[in-house]
């Protein structure tokens, strides 16, 4: 049985695409055939972060319009087996996405034997975001420890449970919370909302906390999903997230202020 998972947040810039790329790569590296679809038509980013920008020939909209087959448009990742990317179009807008079109692509991926179909949602609550979540079985809500991000996530959760196909059929989409850019130091100083408060406000089960880390930016800029940087804290946290999603019982890490040793204090 294949699962459609939407990665969404409402607010922009919180790490949806970073999370989609890392999560999809994580699932694939554990041996699951995974496709990740960029729904951000007009502002495509996923291919950049995955480092396949220069391999894009056909895109999602081409497939929907019947101008290319799904097989032609899917880009196979060179680093991880089982990982495929369906890029968005940069020259179209979100009106190019139709319910029927998206459904046929998702169905074709399912019959093609993909176990996980990760939908990278654009920001906002407009058509692109709606299309990304409509066919979802599960949802990963990406939130920053910041008021407006938490509020927007709450809003998208409402849309998820009232406007999706599952909701229309009377079903419930399984929700997972991922808090990104978390900095225990700044929570301690009162700059950021604590993870307990976020979970309390959203009342969604916590899947992972990704610590604020310079390696995320570095990985994005070099086109490598951060999960492949196994030395970085963010990469490890995404690895934990994937394992937890697949049912492993792994304690949360990077939640407390790192105690610096003597040498670290001296040399930073």
């Amino acid at each position: 049985m294949s699962k459609v998972i939407v990665v969404t947040s409402g607010k922009g810039g919180v790490g949806k695409t970073t999370t989609s790329a890392a999560f999809a790569a994580g699932l694939a590296s554990k041996g699951h055939r995974t496709a990740v679809i960029d729904f951000d038509v007009g502002l495509r980013n996923l291919d950049l972060i995955m480092g396949v920008e220069r391999r894009v020939v056909y895109d999602f909209v081409n497939v929907i319009n019947g101008e290319a087959t799904l097989r032609q448009a899917l880009i196979k990742d060179k680093r991880v087996d089982n990982l495929f990317i369906l890029p968005a179009s940069q020259t179209r807008d979100k009106d190019a996405l139709t319910k029927e079109g998206v459904e046929s692509v998702i169905n074709e991926l399912k019959t093609d034997g993909f176990e996980f179909i990760v939908c990278d949602s654009p920001a906002g609550i407009e058509k692109g975001a709606f299309m990304a979540l409509y066919f979802a079985d599960e949802a990963i809500i990406v939130t920053n420890p910041e008021v407006s991000s938490v509020r927007d996530s709450d809003r998208i959760l409402g849309i998820l449970q009232s406007k999706s196909r599952a909701a229309e059929n009377g079903d419930v989409i399984k929700e997972h919370l991922v808090i990104t850019r978390y900095s225990p130091e700044r929570v301690d100083m009162g700059d950021m909302i604590s993870l307990e408060d976020i979970v309390d406000i959203l009342s969604v089960p916590l899947l992972a906390v990704i610590p604020e880390s310079g390696s995320v930016l570095q990985a994005s800029n070099s086109g490598v999903p951060v999960i492949m940087d196994i030395k970085s804290r963010a990469g490890q946290a995404y690895m934990d997230m994937t394992a937890r999603f697949l049912g492993e019982d792994i304690p949360h890490r990077f939640l407390d202020i790192e105690k610096k040793g003597f040498f670290k204090k001296l040399f930073g």
Partner: protein, 274 residues
Amino acid sequence: MIATQSALELKGEMLMLNVLRLQDVDIKLIEETLQQKRNEAPLFFVQSPVVVDCSNLSQEQGKQLDLRALRRLLVRMDFVPVGLRNVSNAMLAASMTSGWNILRSSTKHPPQKALVINTPDENARVTENTSTEEQEQNEDAVSTEPVSEDQVNEAIENTSLTSRQKQGLIIERPIRSGQQIYAKRGDLIILSQTSAGSEVMADGSIHVYGPLRGRVLAGVKGNKKARIFCRSLEAELIVIAGCYQLLDESETELKGKPAMIHLEDEKLIIEPLI
């Protein structure tokens, strides 16, 4: 706006009217029955406007009905006679000469029709704010529900509306920011939380077993007896029967605590919930 300087404002409004549907034309009998009803609920009828409906009268009965006497009787009994409805042609002349207004007859359901009770699903409306159309429809349903005759009749029979308010709506999932939920004609029970930026409404009372964080509106059709109960009072705005209060402007010490809110002399009273 120019409207503020104009001499008048003309707009349609829904008013509560009593409909007196005559089954007999004997003034004495009508008086006795009315007196009986009034004894059951003396205050209910004081100065209350009434429309006399003649749809159940035969042509013959219509001719026999003493409209002047009926009018005098109603005035004497403290009603405000508004007009006649469903008058047969044979009665038209008599009605005009006796000082009655003729109201346009209603084309609505026949009088014998039983009270229609909506299924809970029809009563429930969860809406998403992104569609303004839907929202307007929703507001429509809130504000322009016409007064049904059955409702009035039932009020006369039971002198209360409690039997209509027994239907409740139970919601198990959180009500998120931007969502609206409305329990028409009944109570609303929410087992989870309501988020900041959400709106929960009911014609009756509202119970929230998770944190109550959004806007909460009980008794939206004017039921002043409606109450709000919650396990953790963190609402943005509290409204009962149109009387509202921002929680931040309230001096209550019950913020974040279990509370019950009710209306007393047009004022919202927030009390601890034991």
